[in-house]
Subunit: 137 residues, 2 copies
DNA sequence: ATCTATGCAAAACATTTGCACCACC
DNA sequence: GGTGGTGCAAATGTTTTGCATAGAT
């Protein structure tokens, strides 16, 4: 009666061990409604299992990123922030006052990006679009 | 017969002193065809004036950024890179193989960004679009 | 003469890593 | 039981900062 989540299954398939720290971190990311940084994830992890170390958080996040389970975002000034990968690509609007992150997508912009890159003789392997804004009223 | 450049004049107007380190750093940025990071700027500066310190490079870059004379870019993984502000806004395509940076503009994308932000109830104060690509052929 | 800018060295951060021990498969 | 993962602490890389002095206005 093992209750493996989809993400735990993906680690198994990648030949990686399913340890307690990893389970805890995966759960935190799954529960997170925001885009926490490594320190925040560490703080939340310690509440669930006091023995987890910050080094493991970093190692696990890097591993999960390589496995495609989480995405790393380096927003302006400040540490990298993480979110569970949901398959769908999206971009971010960051509230400069609160730090809140709003997700959005724009197929039109994606198309234009591709066209621009091609015109310059490049094929896009990754891209990043971030809007920094202030709430109106 | 003072030969003040436009940028030196802007510092004067901002009530800032025009020192030798600042003159050197401004000249380096003016001569730079690439987007150097603080360490690279420091290395180039030392060749022109051996007494310049890395701390001053950082302090000067921050000051120049606040004055609007240079722009700071934090590309994926790696230190911040700088370029002289030319007034015109542009985005970047980074060659993932060589690290080369190609500048481009897209008024259409800018418009779409503004529309998206407005729809979400935000006014854009800044934005960042980076394409990471590989040269075709 | 005043007051800002600098150099130096130390500190602050974010992140990575070496090593001995632990625990998953 | 073997190997990969973890904790700890030290190292790394980038950027900032305190303090006494030098230098621009």
């Amino acid at each position: 009666m093992s209750e493996l989540t989809e993400y735990e299954r993906r680690l198994r398939e990648a030949g990686l061990r399913l340890t307690e720290p990893r389970r805890v971190i995966l759960r935190i990311l799954d529960e997170a409604a925001d885009h926490p940084d490594a320190t925040e994830i560490f703080q939340r992890a310690v509440k669930k299992d006091a023995r987890i170390s910050l080094a493991t958080v970093y190692r696990t996040l890097k591993m999960l990123e390589e496995t495609g389970v989480v995405e790393r975002h380096a927003f302006e000034g400040g540490p990298a922030r993480f979110e569970q990968a949901d398959g769908e690509h999206h971009d971010h609007l960051i509230d400069v006052e609160t730090g809140d992150v709003i997700e959005f997508t724009s197929p039109r912009i994606e198309e234009l990006q591709k066209a621009i890159a091609e015109e310059l003789g490049y094929e896009i392997v990754d891209h990043r679009l971030e809007l920094y804004g202030r709430k109106i009223r």
